[in-house]
Symmetry: C2
Subunit: 231 residues, 2 copies
Amino acid sequence: MRDVYYEQLERLADRLLDMSRMVGEAMDRATMAMSGADLELAGLVVAGNARVEQTRVDAEDHAYALLAARSPAATDPRVAVAAIQAATSLERMGRLAVHVAEAVQRRYPQPVVPSPLMPRFTEMGRIAVWLATMAGQVIVRRDATLARALVSVDDEMDDLHRTLFTVIDYREWTYGAATAVDVTLLSRFYERFADHAVSLAWHSTFLVPRQSPTKDPLPLTTPLQTANTPC
Amino acid sequence: MRDVYYEQLERLADRLLDMSRMVGEAMDRATMAMSGADLELAGLVVAGNARVEQTRVDAEDHAYALLAARSPAATDPRVAVAAIQAATSLERMGRLAVHVAEAVQRRYPQPVVPSPLMPRFTEMGRIAVWLATMAGQVIVRRDATLARALVSVDDEMDDLHRTLFTVIDYREWTYGAATAVDVTLLSRFYERFADHAVSLAWHSTFLVPRQSPTKDPLPLTTPLQTANTPC
């Protein structure tokens, strides 16, 4: 019975890992689509989100199977609940990548972001993809120290988001208010993608049952109490 | 044992109802603070959020107690998981009201929204508070039909959010890009508050155990498949 439980848990973790790869790739492609006003690439991001959502359903099914299990290892429901919360963050990361891609589609053939600001968004995209990749590593390793490391990189994203406001506010802004709106929302999408990656990493540290035969269980206290809850 | 389970479930629902009242009141006050550039009221919203977060912790504790229960009524873990998800939505609604209040604080003594746009935000605030109140009613009544009714009102909020872009885009916008940024983010905060209220209402329809002695259980299919998942 315990073997079945661990097998289910690993299958669930695999689904979450798949999702982390998909949403990281989606945000990478969305950023490239933004950079090149690439309608085809933007379309791939939008279309690809159905797979993310289907994988979320699969992950949740596995999580409910864990909750229904009555093995000795299944005494702590937090493992399954954390997995459901991780899947929720991942689904939202996928949607945020779609929001970026949809902005590209909406403004095409115009670029959605003025070219002088594009390097900032390329950097935000780089950080977003890094965070998704590292959150994937936390899913694999359930490593609270690694999860904590994501918080400081998320701070870099927050700084970029804040600096963008300053740029719009004080430099000569010649692109009009509508572009300011687009840029503001895009910046917020990246910032929230990063917040969700941190939240995902945190929840992933709980994917260890109390009586794991192979790994030391992590304490059930919050390892990332300073992390922002996305909202 | 079953009595204890139902008692726990009702106590959990009471905590969620408390939260729905708190976040509705917070958004109401935040909107009033915005309208009157009222620093004191904005401060009350920010300070009051600690109670929302504490109540969320209480609600989650009750939900985990339900998951740990082994009564015949506790065979469906979706009840407790839905409660945790409802509490997450409520916590985020509280944070969004805080975001609005913080914008008021940041721009004080200047108003954060130009006066010609304030009626729009008053309307968004009215819809937001209505949705929070109605989501509270869904928590009390676990009524899927009522939950569905929230979706059409959420559509009104979405329309207001979209129309705001048009106003910023095509009317003579004389307030500068920084104000456009503020207005855009504020509009998004209200729109997301509404999305979370819909999500909350949906999750609240699951707060009925399969073997309830007093109520017909709802089907486990999604009653609101067309609702947006907040992200």
